[in-house]
C-alpha cells in the first residue's frame, strides 16, 4: 500500500510550479546485500541524489521501524545528501500513521546531513485511504494535509540550495 501513497505524493509534487520530481523505488534499485555503504553505490541513485534539492521519503512502518532495504539504500550515499531538505511520510495499516517510523528515521536523517522539516505525512489505516485495487485516493483531506507538508519542504529546499551555493563554512 505504500506504493499508492508514494504515487499520490508524486502526483502532488508534480503539480508544484517550478518543481521537477521523480519516483525512486528502492525495490527496483537492487543493491547487493553482501556489502553496504558507499562501496555499493548505484550510479543511477547517486545521480538522482545529486540532482535533488529535496527528498520525500515514503516508508511503511514495520514493528515501529523502517524497512532494512530503505536504510541499505540510504547508506550508499553521503555527500549527495548534505544540506538538502527531507520530508518524511509514514504509512501504517493501523491508526498511528507511521509516526513511530518517522521518529526513528530522524536521527538517521541527521547523520546523513539531511535537514528535516517539521511537517510529516501520516497515512493511517491506509487500506481505507486508497482503493487497494486502483490506488485511487478515497479521502480528500490528505490533499490539504500534503499541501502544507510540501509548502514547507519547498521553502526549506530553496533556503538550503541558496546556502549550499553561496554560504561558506
Amino acid at each position: 500500500m505504500s506504493e499508492h501513497v508514494a504515487k499520490f505524493v508524486l502526483s502532488q509534487v508534480a503539480k508544484l510550479p517550478g518543481v521537477e520530481t521523480e519516483l525512486l523505488d528502492v525495490r527496483a534499485l537492487s543493491f547487493p546485500t553482501n556489502d553496504a555503504g558507499e562501496q555499493i553505490k548505484s550510479p543511477v541513485f547517486s545521480a538522482a541524489m545529486t540532482r535533488a534539492d529535496a527528498l520525500v521519503i515514503v516508508t511503511p512502518e514495520y514493528n515501529h521501524g523502517y524497512p532494512g532495504l530503505l536504510k541499505h539504500a540510504l547508506d550508499t550515499n553521503l555527500k549527495e545528501y548534505v544540506h538538502k531538505a527531507v520530508g518524511l511520510v509514514g504509512v501504517s495499516a493501523g491508526p498511528w500513521g507511521g509516526t513511530r517510523v518517522v521518529e526513528n528515521l530522524l536521527p538517521v536523517m541527521r547523520e546523513l546531513g539531511l535537514v528535516t522539516i517539521f511537517w510529516d505525512g501520516n497515512f493511517s489505516n491506509v487500506r481505507k485511504v486508497f482503493d487497494p485495487a486502483t490506488g485511487a485516493l478515497l479521502d480528500d483531506a490528505y490533499v490539504r494535509r500534503l499541501e502544507k507538508f510540501l509548502n514547507e519542504l519547498v521553502w526549506m529546499a530553496k533556503v538550503l540550495r541558496h546556502g549550499r551555493e553561496t554560504i561558506s563554512v
Binding site: T50, L78, K79, G113, R164, E165, T166, I167, S168, V169
Partner: protein, 60 residues
C-alpha cells in the same frame, strides 16, 4: 569562518562553494589525514552553483 582556497568544479569549471564539514570517524585509527583532536578525518563538502556537482575532499 575559515578562508580556504576555492575549488573548481571538475564538471564545468565554475567556482564551488564549501558549505559543510563532516567528520568521518571510521578513518581515525591509522589515517595520516586524521585530526587527532577530533579522532577522525574531516571531509569538506563542496557544491557547484552552476551544474550542482558535489565534491567531497579531505579538509586542508
Amino acid at each position: 569562518m575559515n578562508e580556504r582556497a576555492r575549488v573548481r568544479c571538475p564538471g564545468c569549471g565554475a567556482e564551488m562553494n564549501c558549505h559543510a564539514e563532516k567528520l568521518d570517524p571510521q578513518r581515525a585509527a591509522d589515517d595520516p589525514a586524521a585530526d587527532p583532536a577530533l579522532d577522525g578525518v574531516v571531509l569538506e563538502i563542496h557544491t557547484c552553483p552552476v551544474c550542482k556537482f558535489v565534491l567531497e575532499r579531505e579538509a586542508r
